[in-house]
Every structure is written in structure tokens, then in C-alpha cells.
């Protein structure tokens, strides 16, 4: 999945975003929902299937990557190039 941004008025809901982007509920990660990025400028984000992001290309910003993130350390202790254990 990828992230899209959309500009909406204050207090907007996921339904408002779907209407603006002309997407269906099954196209988006409803658990992620509509997340305010910068409320001052009315910028919000939604997480959508990559295929659906192409359909919303004219009304949305993005698509933006949603890469995995990992701690700067792990539990692997033993060689000098092992990840620091923290």
C-alpha cells in the first residue's frame, strides 16, 4: 500500500476524503483512517492500495512510499558488524 495526501476542510472525515478522491472503502486502509498531516493547511493522508492510488492521481498528492522502519539495533550480539544490540 502507499500513502496519498488530500486537502480537505477542518473536521473532515474519511468519508469526505473518499468522496474527494472518488475511491471506495475497500480501496483504503480504514484502520489507518484519515490522518491530519498539517491541520493548518488542511493537509491529510490516507493509506490506499497501490492500484487505487493511480485512479486518484488527479485529486491526490502522491503516491508516497510507506516503507518498513526498524529499530537502530537488534538482538544479534556476535560479530563486529552485527547490529548493535540496542
Amino acid at each position: 500500500m502507499v500513502l496519498l495526501t488530500v486537502r480537505l476542510p477542518p473536521g473532515a472525515t474519511l468519508a469526505d476524503a473518499l468522496a474527494r478522491l472518488e475511491l471506495a472503502e475497500e480501496d483504503v486502509d480504514t484502520a489507518f483512517g484519515l490522518v491530519p498531516i498539517d491541520p493548518g493547511t488542511g493537509l491529510y493522508a490516507v493509506r490506499v492500495a497501490e492500484e487505487a492510488s493511480h485512479r486518484a492521481a488527479n485529486t491526490a498528492g502522491g503516491p508516497f512510499s510507506d516503507p518498513p522502519i526498524a529499530p537502530h539495533g537488534s538482538q544479534d550480539p556476535h560479530d563486529r558488524h552485527a547490529p548493535p544490540s540496542g
Binding site: 522502519i69 526498524a70 539495533g73
Partner: protein, 449 residues
């Protein structure tokens, strides 16, 4: 540039250099070398001549069995000096032709001890870190994190473990803590892991800070976490910040995580890329939260040239994305001897050249979250150590008095410089020095009064 100059002076001079009871000086050996400032403090050193072991050997080859002769008619002598950088190449070539006793001019590079790496044992103890940060004195003066909210955006906190190892009560605000959809559990009651180490390390300088437990790295998506989990976490933290009274806003956010491989991102130059793109939604929300008054602290990463984490996938400039954001404090790692640890990522950063900003302590015996006897390691530990120091400073200096950007500038200015040049891409501006920040803020307040 500093150089070593190899000379073949008269045999009696060489004999004087070799003779233990005689003190020969650089001037005795070299006289005056044009364009070279001799280092008179460096005692001349005799260097043996390699001589072929066989009578039929090649006198110019080292790829054969050789013996080394210290006989005065064979040995050479090294002296140390400096040649101006812009004359180095010409003087290095011309010196041997101008002076027949000059055999060669060689580089004299700075050498370092082997840095601390991932598999090494602890260097110092967390109480050493507290002392180096000036934490006992700061606590006495009331800079202990009281009333400051410190969010640990990581893998969840086990408060009982932190409490047992720190030997004092840990304050976790469960109401204002947050977890991604699908992540169960109770704030402060997660299994002991990376996030517990981060919480412990943050409390070294700010023992009375109020922790928020934000376990974004416990993603239900079958990986450590997704950047979108962090986007949602930051949206929550914005509501936390805005709910605080404007006059006493103090929210510090500690982030010991990042993106390891470009293969998991859109490529640099793609408009949806994260690593190199300030317009990515996460980088936008970071900027917006900084603007609203939050102090955002990120680990620089563990991709230092000497011993990088084997997961590091960026061929260069490994401080990427928000870890290199101009509006965050990007933190590299030093051990308690103030030496940079070999895994601490070096700049320049991808979103901002001048990264890391500063260094803080890591690789010390602390939380034992990774098992008994294991150190708190990585820039993962350095980041919360710095975040805790920022929280201690914020105790009496909320964001309305000094903005996050102003505080970053003060942290830069007061850091203990570890190079001769000011900012560098290994240590940033130097090692964090919270008492110097407080001293500077105190001066400012006295002037304003």
C-alpha cells in the same frame, strides 16, 4: 599538511640518532629544509635499510627475503614537519632534488584507536553517563524533567523493568499513550525489548519526565513497523501537544529507528520517495510538529563506515529521511570515553547536509534490556540519552520561551567539539553538554531581567 621526511645524513649523525645516550634534534639531522616547518618536539627516528639476504638479490625489491641494517652507513632517519597544503605536491617532488640527503617525503596521517563496535562489551556504566551529562547537578537545580512529556516512539516500554534497573519510580501516562491499530497490550507493560532500553536511557537525565508509550515498531503488518504507523503516531502527538497549556508546552519525541534499505522506498528523484524528499507526508508532519513546539530527536543510524550494521543498504549518505530532517536533532553515538563508536552513521544527511547534529553517549552498561551484562547500544541508545537531556532542559524552559529551533542552535553551540574544525560529519557539532545549555539560558534570562 603534516609529513615525515626521510633523510640520509652523514653516518656519524645517524650513529648519534641510534645511540641511546645521545639526544639528536631534528635540526641536527635536517638543518634547514626550505618550505618545511620542522617539528622540533619529534625526536628523529632511525629507519633500517632493507638489504637483500642473498648476494645476488635485487637491491630495489622488497618482494624477496631481506634483512634490515641499522649500520650508520645504511640506516636513514625520519623527521616530522609541515608543508603548506597548496605547496605539498611541488615541494614533495623538488625537495629530494634540492637536497641530496632527502630520500623521500611521506604522508603522516592521523591514526585512531579501533572504535567501539556492535559486538563489543559495555564501555562504562549508565551512572558514568549521568555524571557526564551533569544529571545529578541538574536534578538538584530542579532540571529533572518534571512536568515534561517525553514520548518514546519505539517497540513499547516495560515500566517494571526500567523501574527495577533505575531504582526509582517511572511515570507513564497511559491516557495519552497511543498504539497503532491492531497492536494490543497496555502502555508500560510490553515485553522487555528495544523500547524499554530507550525509556531507561531517556530517564538518565530526566528521571521525573512523564513518558508516553508509543509502540509503532510493534506493527501488525508482520515487519518491525511501517512509516505510516509513525505518521499516525505523530498525528496523535500533535493532539497531545495542542492540548497542553500554551505557556507550558513541553513535548520531546525520541525516535531510535529508521529506514535501512533504499530497496524498500521509491527511488530518490521519484516524487513519492521518502529518503530524500522533504515533501513526503512523514517529513511534512515532522516539520509541522516542530513548528507547533515539539522537540523531535532522531538517532543518526548505525551505518558508520568502520563497522556498519549488516542491514545497511544505502551505498552512501546513510542518514536518510526524517533522521536527516533539518527540523530534528539527529544524534550520533560516542562511548563514555567521548570517542565516536564505529557504527555511528556519518553525514552528510540526505535531507540536510549538516548531520548528525550532535553526539550523545551509547554502548554503556544500563538497562540490560538485551540480557544481563549486555550494553545499551546503537545510536538507538544515544538518541534517548539526548532526548532525556532535552527534557531536563525543558523542565524550566518551555517551547514558548525557547523554540525547538532555538534550542537546537543552543545545543550545537554548546556541544563539546571533538575536532579542530567545528562541525564535522562524524561528531556533528560535538558531544551534548546540557549544563552549558542551561548556563547559556541562565545568562539569557539574567540579561532579559
Amino acid at each position: 599538511m603534516r609529513v615525515l621526511i626521510q633523510l640520509r645524513p652523514a653516518p656519524d649523525v645517524v650513529a648519534a640518532v641510534i645511540e641511546p645516550g645521545v639526544r639528536a634534534t631534528a635540526a641536527d639531522v635536517a638543518g634547514r629544509l626550505p618550505g618545511v616547518v620542522l617539528d622540533q618536539a619529534f625526536a628523529p627516528v632511525a629507519v633500517p635499510r632493507p638489504v637483500p639476504a642473498s648476494a645476488y638479490g635485487d637491491p630495489l625489491s622488497l618482494n624477496q627475503r631481506v634483512e634490515f641494517s641499522y649500520a650508520p652507513q645504511d640506516a636513514a632517519v625520519l623527521v616530522r614537519g609541515e608543508i603548506a597544503d597548496d605547496e605539498l605536491s611541488t615541494r614533495s617532488v623538488l625537495l629530494p632534488s634540492a637536497r641530496r640527503d632527502v630520500a623521500g617525503v611521506f604522508a603522516d596521517p592521523v591514526i585512531h584507536s579501533t572504535p567501539t563496535c556492535g559486538g563489543d562489551g559495555p564501555v562504562g556504566h549508565w551512572q558514568d553517563v549521568a555524571r557526564l551529562l551533569g544529571a545529578p547537578e541538574m536534578t538538584v537545580e530542579g532540571h529533572d524533567g518534571s512536568g515534561v512529556t517525553l514520548a518514546i516512539v519505539d517497540s513499547g516500554i516495560n515500566a517494571a523493568h526500567v523501574q527495577a534497573h533505575l531504582g526509582r519510580e517511572v511515570i507513564i501516562d497511559t491516557e495519552r499513550s497511543w498504539s497503532p491499530p491492531g497492536v494490543g497490550g497496555t502502555p508500560g507493560e510490553y515485553p522487555v525489548a528495544h523500547g524499554t532500553m530507550c525509556a531507561f536511557d531517556a530517564l538518565i537525565a530526566a528521571p521525573r519526565a512523564t513518558l508516553l508509550d508509543i509502540p509503532v515498531l510493534l506493527s501488525p503488518h508482520n515487519v518491525a513497523g511501517l512509516l505510516s504507523d509513525a505518521v499516525a503516531a505523530y498525528a496523535h502527538l500533535r493532539t497531545v501537544l495542542e492540548a497542553m497549556p500554551a505557556g507550558s508546552r513541553s513535548l520531546v519525541i525520541s525516535n531510535s529507528w529508521g529506514l535501512f534499505s533504499p530497496g524498500q522506498d521509491f527511488p530518490p528523484g521519484h516524487p513519492g520517495n521518502y529518503s530524500d524528499n522533504l515533501a513526503h507526508p512523514f517529513n511534512l508532519i515532522v516539520a509541522s510538529l516542530d513548528q507547533a513546539g515539539a522537540d523531535i530527536v532522531f538517532s543518526a543510524g548505525n551505518c558508520g563506515r568502520e563497522c556498519p550494521d549488516r542491514r545497511c543498504g544505502f551505498p552512501d549518505r546513510p542518514i536518510t529521511g526524517a533522521n536527516s530532517h533539518p527540523r530534528v536533532l539527529s544524534v550520533g553515538g560516542v562511548d563514555t570515553g567521548l570517542e565516536r563508536v564505529g557504527y555511528s552513521s556519518q553525514g552528510p544527511g540526505r535531507l540536510s547536509d549538516r548531520k548528525p547534529d550532535i553526539c550523545a553517549y551509547t554502548h554503556f552498561a544500563g538497562s540490560e534490556a538485551n540480557g544481563p551484562g549486555t550494553p545499551d547500544t546503537g545510536t538507538s541508545a544515544a538518541c534517548p540519552v539526548a532526548a532525556g537531556a532535552v527534557a531536563a532542559i525543558r523542565t524550566r524552559h518551555p517551547a514558548t520561551e525557547i523554540s525547538p529551533a532555538q534550542l537546537r542552535t543552543l545545543l550545537h553551540r554548546t556541544a563539546e567539539d571533538r575536532s579542530t574544525l567545528g562541525f564535522d560529519h562524524d561528531y556533528g557539532y560535538g558531544v551534548i553538554n546540557p549544563p552549558a545549555v542551561l548556563e547559556s539560558l541562565g545568562r539569557h534570562t539574567r540579561h532579559a531581567a
